[in-house]
């Protein structure tokens, strides 16, 4: 077994184990951290495949940015684990049976045969081969169509996110300048006709009369 293979199996084992931990640990923060570990091991596998740019992007974008945001969200949410686990054991035998059947089927197809070959020659590049340059060359030429489509998918994601979360608050106070300018006298001032009788103000007159004397 070459050193490459050994490193591959190590990364692969860590990736699989941490992926299993993501869905089995009780604490959601731990689950998020295990997901980080799974990403880092996948990045390691990509490095082995000479995809250095992708490996670094995975670490920078997913581990550095996405997962940190994710951790914030997880910490802010009040997750009731007991309620999430409700009905878990009821469906557990069903799920396990299904998983075992699938594993047996996969082994039947893949297991008892010689290793599957890809039939494609894989070339190793020199250490100074620029993976980034190579990627940049094809992504804007040969793969420009799916690249543009990916951009449209992101645009749709933005539109969808705004459409689903933007709420016009009814209790928010704001000025409508147009309405302020268009205001008429009648909107603001109300003339109330008051009865003016001598008797009703007689008390006042007496009081003022006393003052004079």
């Amino acid at each position: 077994m070459s050193f490459d293979t050994l490193v591959f199996y190590m990364f692969a084992a860590v990736a699989v184990l941490s992926a299993i931990s993501v869905i089995t640990v009780r604490n959601p923060v731990h689950a998020a951290l295990f997901l980080v570990l799974a990403f880092v091991s996948s990045a390691g596998i990509w490095l082995l495949l000479e995809a250095e740019f992708l490996a670094i992007t995975l670490v920078l974008v997913y581990v550095g940015a996405v997962m940190v945001l994710f951790l914030f969200v997880v910490m802010m949410l009040d997750i009731n684990i007991a309620k999430l686990r409700e009905g878990f054991w009821r469906w557990f035998p069903f799920g396990v049976t299904l998983a075992i059947v699938m594993v047996i089927q996969m082994v039947a197809v893949v297991g008892n045969r010689p290793a599957m070959e890809t039939g494609v020659a894989i070339t190793k590049h020199a250490a100074n081969h620029s993976n980034t340059k190579e990627l940049g060359r094809v992504i804007y030429t040969d793969y420009v169509y799916p690249f543009e489509l990916a951009a449209i998918v992101l645009l749709v994601a933005i539109i969808a996110a705004i459409a689903l979360t933007l709420r016009h608050r009814k209790d928010a106070k704001s000025q409508d300048v147009a309405q302020q300018v268009m205001v008429k006298k009648a909107d603001r001032i109300r003339v109330i006709p008051m009865p003016s009788g001598y008797q009703e103000v007689s008390g006042y007159k007496e009081a003022s009369g006393q003052e004079k004397t």
Partner: protein
């Protein structure tokens, strides 16, 4: 040749993208509740796309972008039908959405983007562009299902759709990565060539194929990958249900044709066996479970599952007859589905959904014309002559019998007979039961006219199916280079 001129098969897509972005901005300045300017712009866009698709027609098969994009007769026909059904969706759903406060600019823009996704799927000849188109369509649909934010049932439906959809995309991608590993290419035609040469590992291919078929089955909504269909159809606002059950079925049909029939043709023996199981299970579960439903949207969801089983039967039969009849079936299904969900929206009003079977009781006394249109739609769904549903089923069965799948054809007929029960039950409710409410039905002139055209078209196509059938047959023949 001028570079822009070489892009001519892509003009419709580019136009749609530009217009969708323009409408997104224009809509900010439209404040009226009816959104009439936005609505008209969207309809003009759809018409413009149709014009561009027709005017840039080139005979033969044109590939662009390193064989990632393909333009052939099948893609042109399916695109034109998609524009038409999107336009019909808008006419049917306008009033319905308006009274519910959902007729927003975002709805129309997402609708256009979902159409763009379908167009990409329809004319993709590379696994990467196929997948991107699928995701564009799916993402727009997830958002549209969730658009009614204050309804718990819609949110639940959107959540289920999103999670199961993501799972299916994962399965599909895993399968595609296996195929890539085996063949070293993602181009549909090149994959087919490599497999035909015998240069690829058979086990790896079959292993990948299982996942690809599972992913496709989910997107088609066939048993045992159908769990999302009833919940999403029931939970989504009816206008979105109408959208999901119409044009995307054409896109998924193209998707299946591109992947299985064009790309994995040499593995026919493997995938046709899988499809037989999926088709039989779908027809059984769809038709039998639909009987137990009291909600019309759920019932139509199960009926969709059964219809998709029938569609697969056409693809299994293979050859010009099989693929042609499958395409014909997809087109007819879309037409029937548009009418049925359109009818639910027509009978609904503010604060009331006509999605229960009891809401159709005595419809004949309330509105004989709408009852007659529903009768035509249900007869067509059940496959009663002289409606086109009969001819669609008949041509698929004919293809199956001539391909030697006689037992499969017998099973399909048996389940269709079972299925006829629940369609005819609606006819019985309309004509022989007393109405539960006597509220007047106010029909908008636009959607009223459209439902009449839709219903009568089913009748007319049933009597004269020749032209549509020959269009489908020629399209499939030219695209797949069949003898």
């Amino acid at each position: 040749m001028d570079y822009l001129a070489t892009l001519s098969p892509l003009y419709a897509e580019i136009f749609l993208l530009v217009m969708a972005c323009t409408i997104l901005i224009v809509d900010l300045f439209v404040t009226s509740l009816g959104k009439t300017p936005t609505y008209l712009l969207v309809q003009i866009t759809l018409f413009g796309c149709a014009f561009l698709t027709v005017s840039t027609y080139q005979p033969g098969i044109v590939h662009l972008f390193n064989n990632m994009f393909v333009d052939d007769l099948m893609s042109d026909v399916l695109k034109l039908l998609s524009y038409l059904s999107m336009s019909m969706v808008l006419v049917y759903s306008r009033t319905y959405l308006m009274v519910r406060g959902l007729f927003t600019g975002e709805f129309m823009v997402l609708l256009l983007f979902s159409l763009l996704g379908m167009m990409v799927m329809i004319s993709a000849s590379h696994f990467l562009s196929l997948y991107m188109g699928l995701e564009l369509l799916a993402l727009s649909l997830y958002a549209m299902v969730a658009l009614q934010r204050d309804s718990a049932i819609s949110t639940e439906a959107a959540m289920k759709y999103f999670i199961l959809g993501a799972l299916a995309s994962g399965l599909l991608l895993y399968g595609i990565s296996m195929l890539y590993g085996a063949t070293g290419t993602l181009e549909v035609n090149a994959v087919s060539d490599v497999i035909a040469r015998g240069a690829a590992d058979k086990n790896l291919l079959v292993f990948g194929l299982v996942f690809v078929v599972a992913g496709l089955a989910f997107k088609l909504g066939v048993v045992p990958f159908h769990m999302w269909v009833p919940d999403v159809y029931h939970g989504a606002p009816t206008a979105v249900t109408l959208l999901i059950s119409s044009a995307p079925k054409l896109a998924v049909f193209a998707f299946v044709m591109r992947i299985l029939v064009e790309g994995l043709q040499p593995l026919l023996v493997h995938w046709s066996g899988m499809l037989i199981i999926l088709a039989v299970l779908s027809m059984a579960v769809g038709n039998i479970v639909a009987i137990a439903q009291t909600n019309l949207k759920r019932m139509l969801a199960y009926s969709t599952i059964a219809h998709m089983g029938f569609l697969l039967l056409g693809i299994i039969s293979g050859g010009l007859d099989g693929y042609g009849s499958a395409m014909f079936y997809a087109v007819v299904y879309v037409l029937m589905s548009l009418g049925s969900f359109g009818m639910i929206m027509l009978l609904s009003r503010e604060g009331f959904e006509a999605d229960n079977l009891n809401d159709f009781k005595g419809l004949n006394q309330r509105s004989p014309w709408l009852a007659f249109m529903t009768l035509l739609l249900m007869f067509s769904m059940a496959g009663v002559p002289p409606t086109v549903g009969f001819y669609a089923k008949f041509s698929v069965l004919q293809a199956a019998v001539s391909a030697g799948y006689i037992s499969l054809a017998v099973i399909a007929i048996l389940f269709s007979l079972i299925g006829a029960f629940y369609y005819l039950r609606i006819v019985k409710l309309m004509y022989f039961d007393a109405p539960e409410s006597h509220a007047t039905i106010s029909v908008q002139p636009g959607s009223g006219l459209l439902i009449s055209i839709n219903g009568l078209a089913l009748l007319a196509l049933g009597m004269l199916p020749g032209s549509l059938m020959s269009i489908c047959a020629v399209a499939v023949k030219q695209s797949l280079l069949l003898p």
